[in-house]
């Protein structure tokens, strides 16, 4: 039954957030709460000779000052997060080489990046804590900084970690078919270099933590702005030697995540440690400038690609050699780098494929997977390559796409190697040619092609760019759910997911409501709380509707069965003769009983003598383990107008067709897409974390790190496909990240198209006016030289 799945149910989250009653970490108050502030390295790479905290400790109002030496031997350093990619099952096949780096929570010997925490102060308020930071003296001995990842791998480069040879933390290769053979047989081979810059994810709420230790009960409660409360809990338990049952981690309202809140941070461990030591609530709220250097960065890949193709547009093979600059640690192992390899060929049939990846360490903030996690990098690379092939052949890029697209009748399509979860890369469902037709239609592709020809003048010209992707979504390994009937008759549905704006309280309630034939307002969703159920994972990787949704669906079936059995018994009927409606169980014999009454009946009370064999409480628990990911897919079309004189361009129109399987709430899905595209546009045109040669972060405030505003983001035209996933009971595919994947490629292609026949090599981002202007100047100069050369020869 589907009364609410597929409907625009109003969000349950809205009322509190609109009225100023949201509860973000920084909003939570506790008596005698103290504030923490962190002293961070001002050097990218330096030995610490001495840290003097004497004066800071003496300042009025300071409760504690902690340095790396104070916790040596007590708290282990961070190495990597095994939750996010242990050695994949095909490690041998991909020739995986990896090493283990470690990073002290508070640097005591060596700092590895600007922003590396060195000391933490706890004081009666943040003002005093920051005063105390000023009083700490650190004596550094600067070391040469490793900044450029290409130079980092050379033999004479300084090392970020003494034990990581050539600064190459991890390398692997993916081989399908035989690229060399394809290259020797193809009509043409083209080589190019493509770079995706380092960027920041910038959720509007920075990180924040409030830890409260209760000594009498030996209980630790931690509020943290995280995407993964269960993982944070596991690390607190193991790193601080706590009793699992006594630790509760809560992600209250979280103001955006997008990836960087999907890892455990030193601050979470240290603030909790200090709360235990001081037996007081300790709060830390990051400021934005701190956030830009201390919250993990993302992307930063450099690709050297070769593509082998025939003159008719058939692509025979692709070879990609790439480096991912992971900053000073590779916490997330293969996550981004392998995603890039796994998604490179997207929805194309490219029989011969070779990827060689190296994850390199430098003296920068550690990396994290950010919305798209390796996929935008793959798609930017692939779709720029397709553009270049089309340009070389004088074909419309759409025709090159059509030549190589996987056809509907070829689904499920096997790409011939393994995903990082061990499943084969087999696209489960979808119709890509249909998606292409749809996007050409809604974007008015033909119309804009005409406009482009008509409008071309000396300064301004129109260009159209296209990009596409498949996206493995709904990453496992699992999500948990508990569904129970409350004494009030309401259904309480708990899941391990942990939202940061994704509307879980609404969409998950829609799923559960449909199982019990009640209104979503009668379903209370509990998420972001390790107290709600024993095991969970969290919200990242476009996984929650798939994993938490499916777990809740199955848990609901278990609870429903118990409910119906009890009701049938009570109504003196058989289970086949009872149905659920309006919060009641009705029997064919005309009798009915309310959920509330049933909840009461199921509760054991003193002297209760069960007259039937029912378990106390009506409850269902289910852990959903997806067989592997499910594949969403999409086409994007961007139309731009470029001003050659200034290098500035406007996005005139942007369209997308998306298949995310079963849609639970159209408005929310569209909101995810529009928001994802806005972030994608930001990365394409405005954003870049710039480091100088000493490893100093140059774009470290909102004055120099630009984010897109309402003036830059168009309202996107959208259409959907609903090809159900075959890998979960409701047919859901993930949608959270999709929007962010294609804009860089679509926009770069559109800008290139607008400037053609001028050949600008738009193979790096951001496409800022100054970058674009200098590319145009360079191309014009080349062209002039070529013309003059021709004249000369002639």
């Amino acid at each position: 039954m589907s009364n609410f799945i597929g409907k625009n149910v109003r969000r349950k989250e809205d009322h509190r957030l609109l009225s100023g009653n949201g509860e973000f970490v920084a909003d939570i108050k506790m008596a005698d709460s103290h504030e923490a502030a962190f002293l961070r390295s001002t050097h990218a790479h330096a030995k610490i000779k001495k840290i003097d905290t004497t004066q800071a400790k003496e300042l009025e109002g300071v409760a504690a000052v902690l340095t790396g030496n104070d916790i040596k031997g007590l708290i282990e350093p961070f190495k990597f997060f095994k939750e996010f990619g242990e050695t994949p099952p095909n490690a041998e096949e991909i020739n995986l080489m990896t090493q283990v780096a470690s990073k002290e929570l508070l640097a005591s010997e060596k700092v590895l990046y600007v922003g590396h925490p060195i000391a933490v102060v706890v004081a009666e308020n943040r003002y005093v804590a920051e005063d105390a930071l000023e009083l700490i003296e650190v004596d550094y001995e600067p070391l040469p900084a490793v900044v450029n990842p290409e130079k980092a791998v050379e033999n004479d480069s300084p090392l970020v970690h003494e034990n990581i040879k050539n600064n190459v933390h991890t390398s692997f290769e993916v081989v399908v078919g035989d690229f060399q053979k394809a290259a020797s047989e193809a009509d043409q081979v083209l080589q190019t270099e493509i770079k995706f810059p380092r960027i920041h994810c910038n959720p509007l709420e920075t990180r924040g933590i409030l830890s409260n230790y209760n000594r009498r009960r030996d209980e630790l409660t931690v509020y943290t702005s995280t995407q993964i409360p269960f993982v944070v809990k596991n690390y607190l338990v193991s790193m601080l030697g706590l009793i699992e049952e006594n630790v509760r981690v809560i992600a209250p309202d979280v103001g955006g995540g997008f990836g960087p809140k999907g890892g455990v941070y030193p601050e979470e461990i240290l603030v909790s440690y200090l709360s235990i030591q001081l037996n007081k609530p300790v709060r830390w709220v990051e400021d934005r400038v701190e956030h830009l250097q201390a919250t993990r960065h993302s992307r930063d890949q450099l690709h050297k690609v070769e593509v082998a193709f025939n003159d008719n547009g058939d692509i025979l093979g692709l070879k990609d050699n790439y480096i991912l600059d992971s900053g000073c640690m590779n916490y997330f192992n293969l996550t981004c780098a392998y995603n890039t390899a796994a998604h490179m060929r997207g929805l194309f049939k490219i029989p011969h494929y070779e990827a060689n990846a190296r994850i390199v360490l430098t003296n920068k903030t550690p990396n994290v997977p950010y919305r798209g996690a390796g996929r935008p990098e793959a798609v930017f690379t692939m779709d720029r390559v397709l553009y270049l092939v089309a340009e070389k052949l004088g074909m419309d890029m759409v025709d090159v796409i059509k030549k190589n697209l996987i056809r509907a009748e070829e689904m499920p399509y096997d790409q011939g190697f393994y995903y990082k979860d061990g499943g084969k890369v087999v696209y489960d469902s979808g119709n890509y040619p249909e998606a292409l037709e749809k996007v050409l239609e809604i974007s008015e592709y033909e119309k804009y092609k005409k406009v482009k020809e008509e409008k071309k003048d000396d300064t301004k010209s129109i260009g159209i760019g296209i990009s596409s992707y498949v996206e493995g979504t709904g990453t496992g390994p699992f999500e948990g759910a508990v569904v129970k009937l409350d004494g009030s008759g309401k259904i309480i549905a708990s899941a391990g997911a942990s939202p940061q704006g994704q509307s879980h309280e609404t969409t998950l309630a829609q799923i559960v409501a449909d199982q019990f034939n009640v209104d979503p307002t009668d379903v209370l969703i509990r998420v972001g709380d390790t107290g709600a159920l024993p095991h969970g994972a969290g919200t990242f990787a476009s996984r929650s509707a798939v994993n938490a949704g499916s777990a809740l669906y199955e848990a609901s079936q278990i609870m429903k069965e118990k409910l119906l059995r009890l009701a049938a018994d009570e109504l003196s009927d058989t289970i086949d003769n009872v149905t659920l409606k309006d919060g009641e169980v009705k029997s064919k014999n005309g009798k009915s009983i309310s959920f509330r009454k049933l909840a009461q009946l199921a509760k054991p009370i003193p002297l209760f003598k069960a007259k039937r064999n029912v378990e106390p409480d009506l409850e269902g628990t289910y852990y959903f383990f997806p067989p592997t990911v499910t594949y969403s897919s999409s086409f994007h079309v961007a139309v731009v107008e470029v001003d050659k004189k200034t290098g500035k361009f406007d996005i005139i129109d942007y369209s997308i067709v998306h298949d995310s399987g079963k849609i639970i709430n159209p408005k929310i899905v569209e909101g995810q897409i529009q928001g994802g595209i806005a972030q994608g546009i930001g990365q394409s045109v405005y954003e870049e974390l710039v480091y100088d040669e000493n490893g100093q972060l140059i774009s470290g405030t909102y004055m120099d790190y630009l984010l897109p505003t309402s003036m830059e983001i168009p309202k996107v035209r959208m259409d959907h496909q609903e090809y159900l996933s075959t890998r979960n009971p409701l047919g859901i595919k993930g949608v959270g990240e999709g929007g962010a994947i294609s804009p860089p490629a679509a926009l770069a292609n559109a800008v290139s198209d607008a400037l053609s026949p001028l050949t600008i090599n738009l193979n790096q981002l951001p496409i800022s006016p100054s970058n674009l202007r200098s590319l145009i100047l360079k191309a014009e100069k080349n062209e002039k030289a070529k013309r003059e050369g021709a004249v000369h020869e002639g």
Partner: protein, 176 residues
Amino acid sequence: MENSVEQPQVDANDHKVQSNRVSITLTVNGKVVNKAVEPRMLLSDFLREELDLTGTHLGCEHGVCGACTIIMNNESIRSCLMFAVQADGYDIKTVESLATNEGTLNGLQEAFSTHHALQCGFCTPGFLMTLTDYLDKNPSPTREEVREVISGNLCRCTGYSNIVDAVMDYTKNRSM
């Protein structure tokens, strides 16, 4: 209004020297408030920490994101760029003033919900206050004008278009 500067005092209980505090009186959401604050306390921190009005959010604390926007004497301003002492004598409205005491949302808030103009909701109070001030003075703006007026507020989730839709719908319905 003259600020009365108190002398440093010794707190007998925990022997702490309190820094110079300044007594300020202002009206916040219709109520008169009188408090002694440190001169360096930001207005945003004053609202959040001293008055527990945590609907005003801090996204950057350097005047760029707009999350901390409030209305002061009928002008929308960024509360992270002012000290509390500078607000002495002023009339302030925060997001908490928009709904009724019983919790009924106003028309603009309703429109935000209807159009899914918020996701995480962290930026929302800032947008609402920027718009409340603007729409008071410009009751029927064009779409372009709305885009422009909210361009000083960052939202990382929505991609803005639903916010513009919400405002257009609200102003249209209001004028009918």
